[in-house]
């Protein structure tokens, strides 16, 4: 059992590189965050910013090589997942920490019935008999509100719609009552109404279990709907960390500001969406100093000198921008 508000997963200074034919590239650079019981932490960033790589590295499911963890710790209730042996980690990842992925069609084994795949969790981690495991699988399908669950356990992934299949993924991830759920863009492939249903389902199941949820997304709307706190990533770096309300009302980092500008909101309806000009840098050519400076509307020469450190600008608010952190700190005095 977790205690309310307990820190369940604490990631510190995680750095991940890939060895490529053109030399190593750094996909994740000094990332830190934590998630508490009952909390939903959103990791927000454009595609390629290192959201998936960072979570896959700390759970040990990243293909290594070519990936390589350069530094960092990821403590599940005090035990470092990165330092422990594969065997020890398997008792936590898959049992206490579970994951769902974006594309449920390719993320489920196409030649096994969904029941068998859910039952596998009970068989491997709890040693249940085949029959009992299948019974529990059917119960899980029912809990994620799949109609006629008892019959559908025997169906194969391709026989479900996208939304229903994502529920199957959730059923599998929640089968063992995990403490932390890492959901990597769970609704990106779904249309808007189904997306809302899945997010609501996650929220309901989270409330029942007092589970910590790490929700990876590139959609600010999703963040504002469900996240308590948000970590904004850009080119492998954390550039801002704040409660969702603070981040949306007073973004500190120019990148967060830019993302907010690109969110469809009431007063922008009918107008062209402003987007941040330019594209994220390639990992092989990350700009010196602040990685965002090539797209930042207020960049100055100073920004090219060194990587801006992530500084606390207010309690529970961190940002990595030389202009904003110094101004805010001055204001804070």
């Amino acid at each position: 059992m977790t205690t309310p508000g307990e820190v369940l997963l604490k990631v510190d200074d995680l750095t991940v590189e890939f060895d490529t034919p053109h030399g190593p590239v750094r996909a994740v650079d000094g990332v830190s965050w934590q998630v508490r019981a009952g909390e939903t932490l959103a990791i927000l960033g454009e595609s390629g910013s290192g959201k998936s790589v960072s979570t896959q590295a700390l759970t040990g499911i990243l293909e290594m090589p070519p990936g390589r963890i350069v530094s960092g710790t990821a403590e599940y209730r005090g035990a470092d997942l990165i330092a422990m042996t594969v065997k020890e980690r398997r008792k936590i990842v898959g049992d206490r920490i579970t994951m769902v992925f974006q594309d449920s069609l390719s993320a489920l084994n196409p030649v096994q019935s969904v029941g068998t795949q859910i039952a596998e969790c009970y068989r491997v981690h709890r040693g249940l008999s085949k029959k009992d495991a299948l019974k529990r699988a059917a119960e899980m399908l029912d809990q994620v509100r799949i109609p006629a669950a008892a019959r559908r356990v025997r169906d194969y992934p391709h026989e479900f719609s996208g939304g229903m299949r994502q529920r199957v993924m959730l059923a599998m991830a929640l089968a063992l009552d995990p403490d932390v759920l890492i959901a990597d863009e769970p609704t990106t492939a779904l249309d808007v109404t189904v997306q809302a249903q899945i997010l609501e389902l996650i929220a309901d199941l989270q409330a029942e279990r007092d589970m910590g949820v790490v929700l990876i997304t590139h959609d600010l709307g999703v963040v504002s709907d469900v996240a308590d706190n948000v970590v904004v990533m850009y080119a492998g770096h954390v550039v801002e960390r704040a409660s969702t309300a603070e981040a949306l009302d007073h973004p500190v980092h120019p990148y967060t500001e830019g993302l907010l500008g690109s969110m469809p909101s009431a007063d922008l309806k009918g107008q062209e969406l402003p987007t941040i000009p330019g594209t994220p840098p390639s990992l092989r050519a990350i700009p010196s100093g602040c990685a965002f400076r090539t797209r930042c509307p207020m960049a100055i020469d100073e920004c090219a000198k060194e990587v801006p450190p992530l500084l606390t600008v207010a309690p529970g608010r961190d940002a990595a921008c030389i202009l904003r952190t110094s101004i805010s700190e001055r204001e804070a005095v």
Binding site: G94, T98, L108, E120
Partner: protein, 308 residues
């Protein structure tokens, strides 16, 4: 399921007719007079020649010859060869020879292909993986004929480990060398596909899911990677099976085994259209049956393909 099978068989009939007609036309178009070639330099009495020509419908138009051959075949009147041998007897003697050779060759091919492919796939970029790539290139570059003759010379003539030719040493000794040759020419493709399929499947999303479930590597391999990786392999094994008879024709001729392949070879040389069509039809039937079996098996192992 029954309807699926019936539908496939019905669809095969017109294809079968076209194939056999095509084969018959090819034989018909070959230069030379069949009976004269059979007789060689000896003169044949005009009356005998005329009787023979009538017996084999050689003076009828092409399409009539074809239809008469088909009629004979389907009514079970296989008749005799130009040289006078009873064709039904020939089939009885020769079918077992070809079956033994093909089965043994196929077993070698499948076992070698699967073993090397699985091993290379599990230990990708290891020594065996690289050796396999090299072996594949060699087998693909060297023509089958060269390989057969080399095998025959090396193991039959020089080392004398196995019989050079003929069936005097019986099953399985006489069949080992040609079957090994068939296996070597065919295993590389299967091994490469198996290896590639395993590597591709190991990188798929559902394997990532399996890891995220905290499963052990062995369980991931046997329960998640292999059942998916072997799907395309089953298809290729079926194609290999259907194609094994082509290898058998070559092997029977070189190793002098009295099977159907050798029979076919002689019939083509003598322009015996009837025999050629009969053997082609047999091969075609075999081909259809094997493909049907592959589809049925595939439907059973891949839930996304249900043959209703």
């Amino acid at each position: 399921m029954i309807r699926f099978i019936l539908r496939r068989i019905l669809a095969a009939i017109p294809i079968g007719l076209i194939v056999t007609l095509g084969v018959f036309a090819l034989v018909f178009a070959m230069p030379g007079d069949p009976l004269r070639e059979l007789a060689g330099d000896k003169p044949i009495p005009a009356a005998v020649l005329a009787a023979k020509r009538a017996q084999y419908h050689l003076d009828d138009p092409f399409i009539v010859q074809y239809l008469l051959s088909m009629k004979d075949m389907f009514t079970g009147h296989f008749g005799t060869t130009f040289a006078g041998a009873d064709i039904a007897d020939q089939l009885r003697l020769r079918i077992p020879v070809t079956l033994k050779l093909a089965t043994l060759g196929l077993v070698f091919q499948w076992i070698a292909g699967l073993l090397f492919g699985l091993y290379a796939g599990f230990k990708r970029n290891g020594v065996m993986d690289r050796l396999l790539l090299l072996a594949t290139l060699v087998v693909l570059a060297v023509p089958g004929l060269v390989l057969y003759f080399t095998g025959q010379y090396l193991f039959g003539v020089e080392l004398k480990w196995l019989p050079v030719s003929g069936t005097r040493d019986g099953w399985p000794m006489s069949y080992l060398l040609p079957a090994i040759c068939i296996g070597i020419t065919g295993f590389a493709g299967l091994a490469r596909l198996t290896r590639t399929s395993i590597v591709d499947t190991a990188n798929s999303d559902f394997v990532k899911t399996a890891r995220a479930k905290g499963l052990g590597e062995q369980r991931i391999l046997w329960r998640h990677v292999l059942p998916n990786a072997l799907l395309p392999v089953v298809t290729l094994m079926g194609i290999d099976f259907a194609g094994i008879f082509a290898g058998a024709v070559l092997a029977e001729s070189i190793f002098n085994l009295p099977g159907l392949g050798q029979f076919m070879f002689q019939a083509i040389k003598l322009k015996e259209g009837g025999v050629v069509v009969l053997l082609s039809t047999l091969a075609f039937l075999m081909f259809i049956l094997i493909n049907l079996a592959v589809d049925v098996i595939y439907g059973a192992i891949d839930p996304r393909v249900r043959n209703v």
